[in-house]
Symmetry: C2
Subunit: 232 residues, 2 copies
Amino acid sequence: MDINIVIKDSFKQSDLLSGITEEHYTDILGAGNRKILKSKSILFHQGDPAKLCYFLLGGHVKLAKVHELGKEAIIRYIGPGELIAVAAVLKEKEYPVSAETKNETEIVTWDKQTMLNLMRKYPDLAINMLCIVIEHMDEVQRRYLELSTEHVELRIARSLLRIMRHAKYKSKDEIRIDFPISRQDLADYTGTTLYTVSRTLSAWERRGWIKSRREQITITDVQAIVLFAEHE
Amino acid sequence: MDINIVIKDSFKQSDLLSGITEEHYTDILGAGNRKILKSKSILFHQGDPAKLCYFLLGGHVKLAKVHELGKEAIIRYIGPGELIAVAAVLKEKEYPVSAETKNETEIVTWDKQTMLNLMRKYPDLAINMLCIVIEHMDEVQRRYLELSTEHVELRIARSLLRIMRHAKYKSKDEIRIDFPISRQDLADYTGTTLYTVSRTLSAWERRGWIKSRREQITITDVQAIVLFAEHE
DNA sequence: CGCTCTATTGATAAACCTCAAATACAGTGG
DNA sequence: CCACTGTATTTGAGGTTTATCAATAGAGCG
C-alpha cells in the first residue's frame, strides 16, 4: 500500500495524528472523500460558508486573505500532510481566507459531522488540532512582528527561508522551491510589491545566492541568506 | 456572591464556558489561584518556559511580541473574561509573547496538570478553547492583511476602533478607552511610530473626532472614524 | 511565430521614519 | 503649595525606503 506510507509520513509530519495508532489512519482517511485537483483550482473562497475541511496528501495550496480588488496577503503555503479549515468548519463560519492549489494536488475532505465523529472516536485529534492551530498562530504573530518592524529585503529573505522549509526539493547544495511561485506571490507573502521583489532577487542572483526562472526559485547559497536574515 | 456574577459574566463574554453549567464555574475557578496584580506587572516574558495560564477577572493586559531592543508589536489587548497562554502551557513550550498589565488586574491562574484535569472533567472546555484560539487567529490574520496593504492613517483608525471594542467605557456619546494607552502603545499596535500616531491623533482632535490626555484617548465621534475606516 | 503572462529596470514620487528640540503633564518630596 | 524630575507628547525639517508608473524584455503555449 504505497499510499498508506505517504499518508503515514504526512500525518507524522503534521503531528495531526501523534498518539494515534497506524491502523486508525485508514479509518480516519477512509471516512473522507479523496480527490485530485489540477493546478490553480480553488478549494474555497474567502467568505464562502465553510462546509468541508481539507487534508493534503500531495501538492501545494496557497492560503490568502484578500482585500479590495487584487490586493492580497498570503497567510501560508500548505504542503502534504497539512490540514486546512477545520476551524471554520467546526464553528460553521465562513472561510476566513481563500485557498488555491499551486500544483496538481491530492486531497481528502471531510464534512463537519464526519469530522466531529472522528474527533469523538479519536479524542487526541482535537488536542492535536489545537496544537497545530497554536503553532500557526505563533507563526502569524512572528510574521506580523517582522512586517511591522523589519525592512523589505530582510523580510524577503525570511520569507524565502520560511517557504523553503515548508516546500523544499533538495539536491546537492541546491534547494528548489517545490511549486511555481511568482514574484507577485512572494510579494504578497512578504507584504511588498512585485517590483521590489524582482529587484531584490536580481541583486541576489548577481551575488550567486539564488537562481531563478519564471515562477521558480532555487536557492544556491542558503548559508548566505541565513546569515543575511539573522545578522541584519 | 458578587464575584461569581462577575465570573459568570466574564465567562459568557469569552465563550470559554458556553455549554457548561453555572455550578461548574466555581469548581473550575476554585481549582486555580486568584491574585491581584498592580499596574505594569509582568505576567510573563516572551521566551520564559510556560508554567501557568491566566484568566482575567478584571483589568487589562497587553500581549506583545518583542523584537530587538525596544521594538515590539502589540498582538492584542486582553480584557476581563479572557484567557491567556493556555496554548503554550499545554504544549509545554515557551511563551511566544510577553504579557504586562496596564491596570490593576485580577487574575486566576492554573498550571498544566490542573488545566488538563479540568479539560478532561469538562470536555467542552477544549473545544471552546479551540474556537477562541481560532477567533484570535482570524483577527491576527486580518491585521496582517491590513498591515501589508493599508496606509498608516487607516490602520490607526482601525486599531482605535478595535481596541475600543475590547475596552470601552461608554457615556453619552463618548467612548473612552478603559486603560492607559500611550502613543507608543498605539504605534506598536498599529505598526508605526509614536510620531506618526501623535500627528494623526492631533489632526483628528482638531477635527473633533477624539479628545486625548496623557495616556488616555476618548472617542467623541465614532461615526466619523468608522466612516473614515470603511470608506477610505 | 504571434499572444499572453511574467519579469526586469529606470525614473519619479509619496509615505513615513528619524532626529532634534520644545512643551505639557503627573507625581514627589521639600 | 511649589519647584523638580522624569515621562509623554507635539511639531518641524530632512532623509530614506519603498511604492508607483511606464516601458521593455523574456518565457511558455498553442
